[in-house]
């Protein structure tokens, strides 16, 4: 019997035959949802080996390593209650945690609050750049709902839609998206002027297709103004929620896009690297979740014109939904994404 876990992190024992069935079911579900090819027999065999490996920790074979980018490095230390300033946290990532890249970010991690403390954030970026070596991105979540009532000036589409005010809800989202786009441009320009290598717009489209639209337009404008800016767009989910429903970018409807199409759109806007996300189902097993996630991410990496970094963390990329993600699952997901998914990074 093999000891593995469920998507909520709890242990479960399965026979190898049961694990194979879970993998096949996860692959089939991923291929069906994203309308993409399934993993090959060889891929599933390799995934069996990775999952059934009896050791707690699994790693790639030498030569199969990939690049790591991050979402808000300072936040990870703040969460632990460690009173360390942001520049020192990034130095720690650089010299003690083997980080391939750095990401400065405000603890709230949303774009809107950073506006109020922009000079202080620029200082932290400029100060850190003097003493660190890897590329440094400034990261924010677009978090479009922060611009709607009661937190912001725009009408709240999720209150208008249940009343049947669909047109009004769509117009409110466009107004909200325009405010978000302005803020993303403001942050992008100011952080680049402070010396940052670029930006990471993380958890993009959590507010639906209008949020994705605002981010794509911001990326396009930043790319036009700063041709050499490093721009990463990390997505928030495997599926673009159609809160607006009709928004198009470069002639393509955004609602309903799965990772491979999301990656194409980010590339079309001028993004340098894109982060693909597949959500974890807590009621399904780890073998099912990682197989499903790999199916979508592998295809996204195959068709994307730019590097794809899969998001492999709490509740995404096959990893159980836990604030303390189990190392056995994270190391297996990490290894599988590199060796089976052929991702450019995580």
């Amino acid at each position: 019997m093999v000891l593995t876990r469920m998507g909520d992190g709890s242990f479960v024992e399965m026979s190898e035959a049961e694990i194979r069935k879970e993998i096949e079911a996860g692959v089939a579900e991923g291929a069906k949802r994203a309308k993409c090819p399934p993993l090959t027999e060889d891929d599933m065999e390799r995934l069996m080996e990775i999952i059934c490996e009896p050791r707690k920790f699994v790693s790639v074979e030498r030569g199969n390593e990939l690049v790591l980018t991050y979402d808000s490095q300072p936040l990870k230390f703040t969460r632990l209650g460690l009173p360390i300033a942001m520049p020192q946290i990034l130095q720690t990532y650089e010299r003690a945690l083997m980080a391939d890249s750095l990401e400065m970010a405000y603890v709230h991690y949303s774009a809107k609050p950073v506006k109020m403390i922009l000079p202080e954030e620029q200082y932290a970026v400029a100060e850190t750049l003097l003493t660190t070596t890897p590329a440094l991105l400034y990261g924010v979540m677009p978090n479009m709902p922060m611009y709607t009532k009661p937190d912001g000036p725009c009408e709240n589409a999720s209150e208008l839609m249940p009343k049947g005010l669909i047109k009004e809800a769509q117009e409110a989202q466009l107004e909200t998206a325009a405010l978000l786009e302005d803020d993303l441009l403001l942050l992008g320009r100011n952080m680049y002027e402070a010396g940052a290598d670029g930006l990471d717009f993380d958890t993009t489209a959590a507010g639906g297709d209008a949020e994705f639209y605002a981010v794509l337009r911001a990326v396009e404008k930043l790319r036009e103004q700063y041709p050499k800016m490093n721009i990463e767009v990390g997505m928030s989910g495997e599926f673009i929620l159609g809160f607006h429903g009709s928004l198009q970018y470069k002639g393509e409807r955004l609602a309903g896009m799965y990772p491979h199409d999301q990656c194409r759109m980010v590339a079309a806007a001028g993004g340098s690297v894109v982060g693909a996300v597949v959500n974890t189902n807590t009621r399904k097993s780890f073998p099912w979740n990682i197989a499903r996630s790999l199916t979508m991410c592998k295809y996204a990496a195959e068709v994307s014109p730019i590097p794809v970094h899969a998001n492999v963390g709490m509740g995404v990329g096959g990893v159980p939904m836990q604030i303390t993600p189990p190392i056995d699952c994270v190391s297996r997901a990490s290894t599988a994404m590199a060796e089976i998914g052929k991702l450019d990074g995580l």
């Binding site: 920790f57 030569g63 391939d100 003493t131 994270v330 190391s331 991702l343």
Partner: protein, 108 residues
């Protein structure tokens, strides 16, 4: 989480050549294998050397592009190392360009 990924599949950051490969992905949208080959060619090492901390410490010291040891007696660090990386990879690095502009320095 960051520790698990760095041990399971990460390239190793400035302990090896991970930061250099990451730079080529982020700045030029190079796919992983292309970025690794580009960096290996520039460093004149093999692909496997890129993640070998023993080889890479010597290479990084020789090229003066910083590694994890930044105590007294260490070579270039931070912005100094990035100026050397910019020349090595023939890549404009935003903060290095700003440093040159602010100081009026022109690097050969």
């Amino acid at each position: 989480m960051a520790i698990v990924h760095s041990q399971a599949s990460g390239m190793g950051g400035i302990r090896t050549a991970g930061d250099l490969v990451a730079r080529m992905q982020l700045a030029k949208s190079m796919r992983l294998n292309d970025a690794k080959k580009f960096v290996a060619d520039k460093l004149k090492v093999s692909l496997l050397d890129l993640t070998d901390e023993v080889t890479m410490r010597e290479v990084r010291e020789d090229l003066d592009i910083a590694n994890v040891f930044m105590g007294y007696g260490a070579g270039s660090r931070g912005i100094e190392a990035k100026a050397n990386i910019s020349k090595l990879l023939e890549l404009e690095i935003n903060c290095v360009e700003k440093f040159k502009k602010k100081t009026g320095m022109l690097f050969k």
